[in-house]
Every structure is written in structure tokens, then in C-alpha cells.
């Protein structure tokens, strides 16, 4: 097995001269979205800027955030933290039964960027030792992803004396009559799980019990149509388990790396102005050396989605229609093959007899009904 050092250098050479793209919590959370994809595992492991790569390949990712949404998010966070976190304290006193004297507030952002991580460590070390401290605004945590350090910034960490550290996530999607958009909630939970893991890792490094960090995170959202914040405790144990498993898998990157042909590189070869100078064809060819596992879900989770979808379409893969169809086809991998079975133009391979019969029957019925 390769040592960590070798692995990192192997991965780094995959990225080449392009600067590594730091992971944020969202990106780390998204790692768990398509765990079976070797292409993604390698590119993320190497810190490749997939967004830039996709743009260069001519398949820019369909993601973007509206300035209105960003403004709204910032305004809501500011409101929750206004006046010495007055709203937040009210909510925490309610959901965590925070005692009245627990109000000490540390704005970690008051410290210069380069010192913030060290300052965060000091503050949490002191808190775990019993020194006064309750609210930590924008601490800077870190997590190692395949040899690279990713820096993470939770909105707030709340510490309750004699109790536990709680991650506080402030999100501006509304909870209306007790209901919120489930996709938004689970995205928030996945993201919070990344913070929980990072904070646990930090405490462990400092020699404290990692379980001082609660697996219940405090999700703060606007209630109904007003801006008034409300808080809910969200259990992220499941998300944590998925995340840990996925990060553990990232270490099996050695194997993926070993399987790569000599000289494969995802380098964009940025020129003086940072613009890629490598030909898009060469890059595409290199990327295609690593197998992907496209599914329509990629369209909302991975920057390379349009590239991989195009590939799946050109290969005539049945994956492009989604897992449901693929499962229905019971392992018939391509459109051509499935249609040939349906039309009786192809002998079913061993094990395909049942699906072949179904497809032939389906074809017969469609013809009959549409005649």
C-alpha cells in the first residue's frame, strides 16, 4: 500500500500545475452523493477544479446562485446574530436549555484570516477545559480529504458548559407551518455533518473526547413568511456515518491511482493569465481514462454532469435514463442491446432470458396497441 506521502504526490501530479481547489463543506457533503464514481473520487482527491475543467471541456455546470438568494441568506444570518446574537440566544435557551449565564460570545472573524484556524483551536481547547465561552462565530475548522486540508467555516458553534458543543447552521429557507423543503433540509444536514466531523477531529487532536460534539445540530430557519428565526434540532448521525464511510473510501484511491495508465493528467496547464492552455480534446481524453458512473442525480451534485451525460448518451448507456429504468432493465447496459432484445434480433445472454422475454412481450403489446 502506498504511503500517504506517495499517494498525495501521485494525486498532485494528476492535477499538475493547476492550483488545487479547496473543498468546502458543500463539496465534501456532495462527495457522498455518488460514492461509486471513480472519476469523481480521483478528481476530488486530486483537488481538481471540476467546475473549471467542465467549462474548459465545453460543458459548463448548470449551477449558479442568484444574487437575491445570496443577499437574503446573508441578511438572515446577520439578523440571527444581531445585537449580541440576541435571537440566537433566545432559540438556544429554548432548544438546548442554555442557562441564562451562558452568553459569552467570540467573534472568530475578528482575527486575521491566517490566524483564525490557530485561534479556533485555542478557543475550543479552552472551552473543553472548562473556560468560559458559549458562542463562537465563524470558527475555522479543518478536515483532511485524501491528503489535502480543507478549511471549513460553520456559522456558529455553541458550547454549553458541562454539556456539549453544538453546530449551529443558519439557513434562509423557510419553515412554513412546520414544514420545510425536504431537499433543503437534507442538504443542510449533510453539510452540518461535515462540521460535526471536523470539530470532533479537532477535539480528538487536542486530546479531548470527540463525543463532546453533539450529533444533534441546531438548524435555524425563518418561520413562515416573516423573518423571525426558529430553531430545530436535527439528528445527523446517519449523514455522519455516510460521510465517514465515503472519506474512508477516498483512501482506497491508491487502487484507482494504480490502475491509471502512466502519464494521465487532468492538468489544465493554466497560462500566465490563469486561462487553460491545454486542448479540450486532450483533457477530455484524459478524463475518459477514468471510468464514470453517470446517473441523472449527477445533474444536481457534480460539476462534470453535462460532460458525463454527453458521454453516457454517446455510449448509448441505459444509465442516462436513471436508476429506475436501469434496474427495470435488469442489467442490460445499453439502449441498442435492450432494443435488440425487444425486437428479437439478439439472443439473450445467459441470465438475460427473463428480461428478454419481458422486453419482447412489451414490444408486442406496444405494437398491438399503437397499430
Amino acid at each position: 500500500m502506498a504511503t500517504v506521502g506517495e499517494r498525495v504526490s501521485g494525486l498532485d501530479s494528476l492535477r499538475g500545475t493547476t492550483p488545487a481547489k479547496p473543498h468546502d463543506a458543500r463539496a465534501i457533503a456532495a462527495l457522498a452523493a455518488n460514492p461509486g464514481c471513480a472519476r469523481r473520487a480521483l478528481m476530488d482527491g486530486a483537488g481538481v477544479d471540476k467546475d473549471a475543467a467542465a467549462r474548459h471541456l465545453g460543458f459548463p455546470a448548470p449551477f449558479g446562485q442568484s444574487p437575491f438568494a445570496i443577499t437574503r441568506g446573508n441578511a438572515f444570518e446577520a439578523l440571527v446574530k444581531a445585537d449580541g446574537c440576541a435571537e440566537l440566544l433566545r432559540l438556544l435557551r429554548d432548544v438546548l436549555r442554555l442557562p441564562i449565564d451562558e452568553v459569552a460570545y467570540q467573534d472568530v472573524q475578528n482575527v486575521g484570516a491566517h490566524l483564525r484556524h490557530a485561534h479556533t483551536r485555542t478557543l475550543f481547547d479552552r472551552a473543553a477545559r472548562g473556560e468560559q465561552g458559549t458562542l463562537y462565530d465563524h470558527p475555522l475548522l479543518s478536515l483532511k480529504i485524501a491528503g489535502h486540508t480543507a478549511f471549513l467555516e460553520p456559522d456558529v458553534v455553541a458550547f454549553q458548559h458541562g454539556g456539549r458543543f453544538h453546530i449551529v447552521e443558519i439557513k434562509s429557507f423557510a419553515v412554513i407551518d412546520g414544514q420545510a423543503d425536504p431537499a433543503s433540509v437534507s442538504a443542510a444536514a449533510r453539510q452540518a455533518a461535515v462540521y460535526v466531523l471536523a470539530l470532533r477531529t479537532l477535539l480528538e487532536e487536542l486530546g479531548h473526547d470527540p463525543l463532546l460534539v453533539a450529533h444533534d445540530v441546531v438548524l435555524v430557519c425563518p418561520e413562515n413568511f416573516a423573518n423571525r428565526p426558529m430553531a430545530t434540532l436535527v439528528d445527523v448521525r446517519r449523514q455522519l456515518a455516510v460521510l465517514k464511510r465515503q472519506l474512508a473510501r477516498m483512501t482506497s484511491i491508491d487502487r484507482l491511482l494504480a490502475e491509471l495508465p502512466e502519464g494521465v493528467s487532468f492538468d489544465l496547464l493554466p497560462g500566465e493569465d490563469g486561462a487553460p492552455t491545454r486542448s479540450a480534446e486532450a483533457l477530455a481524453e484524459a478524463i475518459q481514462q477514468v471510468s464514470a458512473r453517470y446517473a441523472p442525480d449527477c445533474l444536481s451534485t457534480c460539476d462534470l454532469c453535462f460532460f458525463c451525460r454527453d458521454e453516457a448518451r454517446r455510449d448509448g448507456a441505459s444509465d442516462q435514463l436513471g436508476r429506475q429504468v436501469r434496474d427495470e432493465l435488469g442489467g442490460v447496459a445499453t439502449v441498442e442491446e435492450a432494443l435488440a432484445l425487444a425486437d428479437g434480433l439478439r439472443e439473450p445472454a445467459p441470465g438475460q432470458e427473463e428480461i428478454a422475454r419481458l422486453l419482447r412481450d412489451a414490444e408486442r403489446l406496444r405494437r398491438e396497441c399503437l397499430a
Binding site: 444581531a82 445585537d83 449580541g84 467573534d107
Partner: protein, 264 residues
Amino acid sequence: MSDDLDALERRIDLLRAQVRTAARAREAALARELRGQLRKAERAWDTLVSAPPQVAARPGEQEGRVAVPVRERVHRALTLLGVPAAGRLVVSVHDAFFAEPLRSSQLTTLRRDEERTFRRSPYARPHYVCAALTDRLTPARGLLAVSTWPQERRVVGPLSPRVDFLVATVQVAACAGRLDDPSPAARRLLARMARNVPDAGSGFGEPDPERVAVAARAELAVHLEADTRQRAELAQRAAAQLDEVACLFGAATLSDVARKGACA
């Protein structure tokens, strides 16, 4: 006008009852007819109630009056609060208790402008809008303070944000309590602050300023001693380590802290 409304309301109630009776008796035609009348009555009520009230022209406030400069408006609001505050709160307080408008966009460069003015000719003005200092003696993000306040008030320890919020609440409650008819902005501000103070009277209706102040003082008592001590220490450190500009506007970098200067 309200007589008409009363009459209409009585009629609407009556019609509703009749509609129900008719529906129960399955007199569809009658029910329909009555429903029509009900509709009309409701419409009439709506028009009457939503007729624009006779707006009395505001006395010519805007005309010909020299506007108070932004820095003075901010100073006024801060003085009312008596503690360092973020721009948002300054704006809300100004809206609540003073006539001219203050927009938060007007505050963005204020602290920097004040610092420049001060550096050009120190103490040429009776007061400046300055920064509050963190426990690292750097300017605290977003907080505004008044230069004439004692240094202890212009530093913030870990408990100070809460303490200052509670003090501000007491002040706002006091101001609102003195007014016979506080402005809607003042009521809103007080309600917002009261919501975040335990036992300040929550739920429905307007908070009682008296009760809000009592509740805020009660929580204040829990934190005040520790906060005062921490602030005093910080103030001492500031006095020992900062020059007079930095005492007001904060040490920009760590080296500023090291450069010792006298503090006024």
C-alpha cells in the same frame, strides 16, 4: 362613516344567518338570492372600510430645514443607547425616536471618515463616532461607539455583546415609556428587543416598557459584574498599549498594539 359600517356589519351577520337557514331548508333559489345580497353587502363594506382616510398634510418638515449631518444622527442614536451598537440597531433606534431618516448605506464609510478627520486634527470636534475594541484591541466588526465614552465602554469582552444588548433594551424601553404615543417604529423595535429578553412579556399584544426594563435589568445582574471586570482589564491594556488614534479606532494590526502610545 363608522355608523354606516356598523349598520352594514349587522346586515351582513343577518344575511349570513339567513343564507344558512335557507341552505339547510334546501331552498336553493332563496339561498342564491340571499348570497347575492350578502356579496353586495360585503363589497359595500369593503369599499367603505378601505376608502382612503383624509390624510392631513404633514407640516412642512422637509422644506427649508437644514438636515442634521449623518454623523450627528448616529451620535444621537448612540447617545440614546449608551453602549456600542451595530449599524442596524443605530438605524432602528434613529427611526424609532427621531424624525429624519437614516439609511444603513450612509453608515458604511462613517467610521473611516471619522478616523481620517480625527487624524487630520485630533479633538477638533467635541466628539467622534469611533470603534469599539475587541479583546485583541482591534476594531470590533461593525460596532460603532462614541469617542467621549470612557474606554471601558468602548471595549468589548466576551460578555459585552449581551450586556450591551440588555442595556440598550433598558434604554429603548425607557424612551418608549416616556412617550405618550410611541411611533410604530418604536413599538416594533421594543417588541423585537423584548422578544429576546426572558420574561419581558411575550406572545400577544404590545410589550409593557416598564416590564421590559425590569426583565432586562434582571438578566443584566447575572452578567454585569464579570463583564465590568473584563472590560476594565481590557481598557487598562488599551491605555497601556495604544496610541490615541488606536484607542479610538482600534489597532489595525498586531504591530500597532506593540507600538505604545499615550491614550487621552
